[in-house]
């Protein structure tokens, strides 16, 4: 097992001391009008790691990320991003970050190329503008004004602006919302190439397959707390991954059994019925299934709190 990853089911996201971390969070709290949006969050993100932060709307994801980006001030706790407290992050610190926010609706009177060339000028060691345009697949639109792009194309400009400064740490907030499936796959390719260069990435997403594709580790945040953190293939613990076998008895009763040996079970069911069982399914829980189970297990209480907050 990967020694840097905490065991399955661990609720604290701390890495062993001595790990080279890009992000370190201890006891983070953020209170709005008496309600805690983030309530005692501990998390480490190692350098070079891609961490996927999952959770329903209003669970505290965006608040946490915006505190890390320096946009919001925390109520309590300790936060270090690239060794700096984000509340005191200066311009040199910002030059090491790349931030892709949720939808911006700028008027977009500049062309894709103008916009990227201009932003590249803010950074000490930017990427080549044309390479970035090619990487996000906008060569054909380089001379088009941003306002005349489609939603998905604008999103690619957002991503391009986030990576133009060659960041050490990249924040991606719902990066592929509005992408068609092919564009998402192209985007994943781009993120993998960033990863290969050693960029640390903090990804928040609603697409669980995206988290599974890109994330080294993932954390599920609910009611302002991390309810689970682990390697993407270990999230939810081993028992959450036990395959499920479903079928219908000849009398119509639905059956569902969780077993590590589904083939054996199916064989015994076949033997018992002397034939093909009705509506047979063997399901290996996907990250999405595990995530939904976690969210439901965490109870309606936490969820209701969040609704009230939102």
């Amino acid at each position: 097992m990967d020694t840097t990853a905490p065991g399955p089911g661990t609720k604290a996201g701390r890495l062993p001391s001595g790990t080279d971390v890009a992000v370190r969070i201890r006891g983070l709290r953020k209170v709005y009008g008496g309600v805690a949006a983030v309530d005692g969050l501990d998390l480490d993100i190692a350098r070079g790691e891609t961490f996927a932060l999952l959770g329903p709307n209003g669970a505290g994801k965006s608040t946490t990320v915006e505190i890390l980006e320096g946009y919001r001030l925390r109520t309590d706790g300790e936060v270090q991003v690239l060794g700096v407290d984000p509340a005191r992050g200066d311009l040199d610190w910002k030059a090491r970050l790349g931030i892709v926010l949720q939808s911006a609706t700028e008027s977009g009177v500049h062309t894709v190329r103008e916009q990227l060339a201009h932003f590249a000028g803010f950074y000490p060691d930017p990427r080549d503008v044309d390479e970035v345009i090619a990487a996000v697949g906008l060569e054909a639109k380089a001379r088009t004004r941003v306002s005349r792009l489609s939603g998905g194309q604008r999103r690619r400009v957002d991503v391009a602006l986030g990576i133009i400064g060659r960041p050490e740490l990249l924040f991606l907030d719902e990066p592929t919302t509005g992408f068609d499936p092919e564009a998402r796959r192209e985007f994943w390719k781009l993120i993998r190439s960033m990863k290969a260069e050693g960029t640390t990435i903090l990804l928040t997403t609603h697409y669980l397959d995206e988290a599974a594709q890109l994330g080294d580790r993932a954390g599920v945040i609910l009611g302002g707390r991390l309810v689970d953190v682990g390697r993407v293939d270990e999230l939810g613990g081993a028992e959450a991954r036990v395959p499920i076998v479903r079928w219908r008895e000849p009398d119509g009763t639905p059956r569902e059994v969780r077993t590590e040996r589904p083939a054996e079970l199916v064989a015994s069911v076949v033997a018992e019925h002397g034939g093909e069982p009705d509506a047979l399914e063997v399901i290996r829980p996907s990250l999405e299934d595990i995530y939904l189970r976690l969210v439901h297990a965490a109870g309606a209480d936490a969820h209701d709190d969040e609704e009230a907050l939102a």
Binding site: Y32, E69, G70, Y71, R72, L73, L91, D92, K94, A95, L97, I99, L101, S103, A104, T105, E106, S107, V109, H110, E114, H118, F119, G121, F122, Y123, P124, D125, P126, R127, D128, E131, V132, A134, A135, G137, R145, L161, I163, G165, R166, E186, K189, L190, S193, M194, E197
Partner: protein
């Protein structure tokens, strides 16, 4: 491009095409220092000016508007004869009389209306939040905004003077003294106007409400400060209210440059009072600067 390995013909037919679009290894551009505040400010001026001229609303309502108004006034009132400072004195055409007011209006629109609406919009559409996440200093951002105002205000004044001097046949001053006065009133007025615009941008709660907040203020000021109405014919209480605000002083400074000496008697105290023009504009410059400094945030941090 590098051209070391691939030729253009391989492009697009190879299944690895998409891979080739990935980001290549880091390339270092000399030193690693961040670009300086002034260099970025200069780069912002170009970027902002380009953006301004690509925004039809801004160009029409803040750049061309004074020119259009001058044209309308000249055409509408050309038949009603010259404006004279007093009985039996030599008058000037309506166009000539309104030129200084329109120059002052241009300064106000280019600064206050343009920036107040522009920055309030940028605050609500996510532009400022994005910039706040980059190593761009607010100082460079404001150098860009103020620089854009200067560039477009100079072009606007140049256009007004060109049209006035040629198409409308208005006689322009010939003494270097008058142009020197023009220069300092213009520079001080535009700077004041830009800073007041930045300060005012903190008031609208959203980009959509920005024009609803800003335009009435700007419009009322133009009516009471001697832009559309002859200042000397306004009641004294209205003149006194206008004197609190900077536009009246910009218009007065411009009248001192462009109107014949005889018109001086029509001023509130029978004099151009250029000293007070400087004092009032400087005071508003400081107010604008202080309010801007106190209210500006990339985002409302804990809204």
């Amino acid at each position: 491009m590098s051209g070391t390995t691939t030729t253009p013909t391989t492009d697009g037919r190879s299944p690895a095409h998409a891979e080739a679009r990935g980001i290549r290894s880091p390339r270092t551009h000399g030193g690693l220092g961040r670009p300086g505040l002034l260099r970025l400010g200069t780069s912002r001026i170009g970027y902002e000016t380009k953006g301004y001229f690509r925004s039809p609303d801004a160009v029409f309502f803040t750049f061309l508007f004074p020119l259009i108004m001058l044209g309308i006034f000249t055409a509408a009132f050309s038949a009603s004869g010259d404006i004279v400072p007093g009985p039996g004195m030599e008058g000037i055409s309506v166009g000539a009389y309104y030129l200084p007011g329109m120059l002052a209006a241009g300064m106000l629109l280019s600064g206050v209306q343009n920036l107040a609406v522009d920055i309030a919009t940028e605050k609500s559409d996510g532009t400022l939040k994005r910039l706040g996440g980059t190593p761009l200093s607010p100082v460079s951002y404001f150098l860009g905004k103020i620089g854009q105002v200067f560039v477009t205000a100079v072009l606007q004044a140049g256009l007004l003077l060109l049209v006035a001097g040629t198409l409308l046949g208005i006689a322009l001053p010939t003494t270097s003294e008058a142009w020197l006065t023009f220069a300092w009133v213009f520079v001080l007025g535009v700077a004041t106007s830009a800073l007041c615009g930045i300060a005012l941008s903190a008031v609208p709660r959203s980009g959509k409400s920005a024009t609803a907040v800003v335009i009435p203020i700007v419009l009322v000021l133009q009516f009471i400060s001697g832009v559309y109405l002859q200042f000397s014919q306004l009641p004294e209480w209205m003149q006194n209210i206008a004197s609190i605000f900077p536009l009246k002083w910009m218009a007065q400074g411009m009248r001192a440059v462009f109107l014949p000496e005889d018109f001086e008697t029509l001023e509130q105290h029978g004099a151009w009072d250029l000293g007070w023009v400087a004092v009032a504009l400087l005071a508003w410059l400081v107010i604008g600067l202080v309010v801007s400094r106190l209210t500006f945030r990339w985002i409302r941090r804990d809204a």
